[in-house]
Symmetry: C2
Subunit: 178 residues, 2 copies
């Protein structure tokens, strides 16, 4: 950040009076710019004993598999965002079952929030950001080709819970920088 | 937003190619500015059968009571943010018990995320943003003087759960514009 988005003045990076961390400050119009973590919201879409994964058509991790998820937009609820992303990337209109996992990716200031969700029918198609979308049984999950460790962690927890009698509680975890 | 924070060029508000909603776009350097919801994180600090509330020393809702909470900062986990806010506003170092409630305030693009937390001792003091900090029993909660409906909703759910045998599960809800 170099310029004030309000008045166009030059910014300096300094601790504002009464604060305890550095922010971008405009001396011309006194605006302080706060930067905060972003939420990434998504689903584990279930169809019977299978779950739906998308193969990425965009960087990073082009060609690798992931759960449908993306940045929460202004004006949305967390579940609305998760349903929208699932539709955009996987062409399926899911019904939310329950919140399932929140993951802190503090090294990139992102919070993942994933729901379990029901597919009303095995209908899906690759959206603009997907090369392919497919239903997988647990034994067919392409573990070596999962795009992000947040997604591997979510899937691993999910199948662990399912193996142990399907008691899906809400989990919180941290993902470290690889 | 009027100017590009990167190059100082003028911004226009329009739908970028391949997108489906309007963003601020800089034609000079091609930067697109995405704006996303912010997380507000906080705690219900418990000491025996009492909980800790703060009386606000800042606007909005100066003089009204609230739970300690504030904006999650870059680089923090959600629980780190909640612990920090509780220390800043109420001078007490809590231990997180469990995630308790997430509330969508989509009309202002905020997501509240509140934890139940344990006070190791009944030690607390008003921070810079509080006029007063006090422990309250359920029957003494100043319901008419609670600062925000997100906080009233959290407290109401909390005492409902406590009355029903203390089975505190994780809740999600929406708060509508008053």
């Amino acid at each position: 950040m170099n310029y004030c988005s309000h008045c166009g003045g030059s910014l300096r990076f300094d601790i504002p009076s009464g604060d305890d961390r550095s922010r971008y400050i405009c001396d011309a119009c006194q605006t302080i710019f706060y930067e905060n973590p972003k939420m990434v919201v998504g689903c584990i879409p279930e169809w019977k004993d299978q779950i739906l994964l998308c193969r990425r058509a965009i960087e990073p991790r082009y060609g690798m598999w992931t759960l449908p998820a993306g940045f929460l937009e202004n004006g949305e609820t967390v579940s609305e965002g998760a349903i929208r992303e699932t539709y955009e990337e996987a062409g399926t209109r899911v019904e939310i079952i329950a919140p399932y996992m929140m993951l802190n990716l503090s090294f990139i200031s992102q919070i993942y929030f994933m729901f379990r969700a029901r597919m009303p029918a095995p209908d899906y198609e690759a959206g603009q950001e997907s090369l392919d979308v497919r239903l997988f049984r647990e034994e067919d999950i392409p573990w070596k080709d999962i795009a992000f460790s947040a997604i591997s962690s979510t899937l691993k927890q999910y199948f662990d819970d399912r193996t142990q009698g399907g008691r899906f509680s809400f989990h919180i975890g941290d993902v470290q920088k690889v």
